[in-house]
């Protein structure tokens, strides 16, 4: 049963229920639109890097500082243009049982991660600060572990899509208790 959906820029959010053995299973999906430009740019980046490296290693007679620098710049170039082929990331909430985090790629590969409900201390909305930007992320605080577990490992969806997922996770982990940030 479809509960809600909306889009924002390159992300789409969808929330629906599935029938489970005893209770309904909530599924929250966040889709990322495939960008042909980014795919082409990533191939261009790899081609430039390979051409540069081959030139430095095979054509030039000896390796100098400039060739190391050009290889290093090539690596940075590839890293910037790298395109993550993620189709969607899902959060499957099975009440009283656990939460499954899934990452689906365009190639068909799927990565699953299951977290038992008792292991989750609290889901939190974090503000992450980097040297150049600041963005929101949703993470799970786990009992007995120092590190937070990111719910969406590859994608950086906008906060308006993170809030309903966070509320659903709070409801699943706390039962009747209301969530406060």
């Amino acid at each position: 049963m479809q509960r809600g959906s909306f889009s924002y820029k390159k992300y789409s959010y969808s929330h629906h229920d599935q029938k489970g053995p005893s209770q309904a299973i909530e599924v929250h999906d966040i889709y990322m639109k495939k960008s042909k430009t980014r795919v082409i740019l990533s191939y261009v980046g790899i081609f430039v890097f390979l051409a540069n490296t081959c030139y430095s290693l095979l054509v030039k007679e000896e390796l100098s500082t400039s060739s190391f620098w050009s290889i290093f710049v090539g690596v940075l170039f590839v890293k910037c243009l790298r395109y993550k082929p993620v189709k969607k990331e899902s959060v499957v909430i099975m009440p009283t049982f656990g939460v499954q985090l899934e990452t689906h790629f365009w190639s068909g590969r799927v990565i699953h991660r299951f977290v038992p409900i008792g292991k989750i201390l609290r889901p939190v909305l974090n503000e992450c600060v980097t040297p150049v930007t600041c963005y929101w992320s949703l993470a799970l605080m786990l009992r007995g572990e120092e590190n937070l577990l990111l719910v969406f490992q590859e994608l950086q969806p906008p906060v308006k899509m993170l809030v309903p997922v966070w509320k659903a996770l709070c409801a699943a982990t706390n039962g009747k208790e209301t969530c406060s940030s």
């Binding site: 503000e127 600060v129 150049v132 930007t133 308006k160 809030v163 209301t178």
Partner: protein, 443 residues
């Protein structure tokens, strides 16, 4: 009655907690009082060790520890333009209206004010220290200050002496500079419940033992006072490169039982050290203001200080004895203070300090500065560039070039990450209303 305008202030400085000092305290106390007045305050500083990201302090004070590493004396590496993306992001997401920079020595402050002006926001700058004019470091610092203050809306100085110093160094119009002295937390610095006996007089010194703070003067003054007055004892708190000289002085004149060296005193224990004394001795060679003597006066101690910088403006004559920064004059001042002691009542002094200095008063006066800043006219880049040209024959043109490049980079950044794509942050609210409002504010 006009409704008071609610400001959203961004305090920027390299100096904030967990680092400890006058500027850090000033920013914290001012922010807390502004929050009480109903404004929104966000602080931006660089990361301290592993402390990086967003933290909330008392009263909902949000602090961004931006992961730029400090490179010298707690300052962020001056990159000119690399801080533009993160500062723009923070200013837009927090819906800031005024950017307030602190301390001329902070590179992050200068960069933030430059970017804020380029983005068209109102900026206010507070200068906390006095600087020289003659040495190479001061000359460069003053040029940087001239650049920042060429286009600032309002400036604040902590004393009239500091205002004169800032105006001379930077060439800013005196009408744009407000004088708002620092204050002291009189609730924390209270006198001892029972008055100390005057049989043995204790003189307290708490300062960093460096040249600037007059540690060399102490080395001359302490033995002379101990020789003249047999019932006087000294307590010296603080650490620094000059501590060795003081230890040597103790050894030379055999004053181990009359001079206690405590080492570095954490700020939480300063009050307990102060209330064990009758007189507070400050021997600084330069001071824009001096919060240390405010703390001492709030604890009921009579102050003896050098007449430098803004110190004469801090306390009334019945609470302080001033002297020239020379050993003979300081010994005379201590003698005068010892004779004044019987007439001093610490509790009366404390109550007087409470009426004179309060951070709430500082916040109200700062609010007036923000109101004045927001009233100043909007100017585009072409109208602002002539202000930079006045800074010097070569410097003026360089500054104009820096601002033009900053403007172009801002436009590029606006194409890469438009303002609409930066998500605004909802304000911290009380727990009861959070759930209902969250849905609304995030959409």
């Amino acid at each position: 009655m006009d409704k008071r305008r609610r400001h959203r202030i961004l305090m920027v400085s390299d100096f904030f907690y967990p680092n400890f000092g006058g500027v850090e305290n000033h920013i914290y106390y001012l922010s807390q009082c502004l929050l009480k007045l109903g404004h929104k305050v966000v602080v931006v500083t660089h990361a301290y060790g592993k402390r990086s990201g967003v933290r909330y302090m008392t009263g909902g004070l949000k602090v961004y520890y931006v992961p730029w590493r400090p490179f010298i004396m707690q300052n962020t590496l001056p990159t000119f333009y690399l801080t533009l993306p993160i500062l723009r992001n923070i200013i837009v997401r927090e819906k800031i209206t005024v950017v307030h920079g602190h301390q001329a020595f902070s590179t992050l402050c200068h960069e933030a004010l430059m970017h804020a002006r380029t983005m068209g926001y109102k900026v206010v700058f507070t200068d906390h220290s006095l600087y020289g004019f003659a040495d190479v470091g001061s000359i460069h610092m003053n040029k940087v200050l001239q650049f920042t203050l060429a286009d600032v809306d309002q400036a604040i100085c902590v004393s009239h002496t500091s205002k004169e110093n800032t105006v001379l160094r930077s060439g800013i119009l005196p009408e744009k500079v407000f004088v708002i002295p620092n204050a002291v937390d009189t609730a924390m610095f209270t006198p001892a419940p029972n008055r100390l006996s005057c049989d043995e007089i204790v003189i307290v010194v708490i300062s960093r033992l460096v040249y600037r703070k007059g540690a060399d003067l102490l080395v001359e003054v302490i033995p002379e006072v101990c020789r003249l007055f047999s019932n006087v004892r000294f307590i010296v708190g603080g650490d620094g490169p000059k501590r060795v000289r003081l230890e040597e002085m103790r050894e030379k004149y055999s004053l181990q039982d009359r001079v206690d060296m405590l080492g570095a005193v954490p700020h939480a224990q300063v009050r307990s050290v102060l209330i064990s004394g009758h007189i507070f001795l400050n021997s600084s060679l330069t001071e824009a203001f001096c919060i240390a003597i405010l703390e001492a006066a709030s604890c009921g101690l009579l102050t003896v200080s050098t007449r430098v910088g803004g110190v004469p403006e801090v306390l009334p004559d019945d609470m302080i004895v001033l002297a020239e920064p020379a050993p003979g004059d300081m010994v005379w001042a201590i003698r005068k203070a010892i004779f004044m002691l019987p007439s001093i009542d610490p509790h009366v002094m404390h109550l007087h300090m409470k009426s004179l200095y309060s951070w709430h008063d500082v916040a109200k006066r700062t609010e007036i500065v923000y109101d004045r800043a927001l009233q100043s006219s909007e100017k585009n880049l072409l109208q602002r560039l002539p202000r930079y040209l006045k800074c010097g024959a070569w410097a003026g043109k360089l500054f104009c070039l820096v601002m033009i490049v900053n403007f172009l980079l801002l436009r590029l950044l606006a194409l890469w990450q438009p303002v609409e794509s930066i998500e605004e942050v909802p304000d911290m609210l009380s727990v009861q209303h959070q759930d209902e409002v969250m849905e609304h504010d995030f959409s």
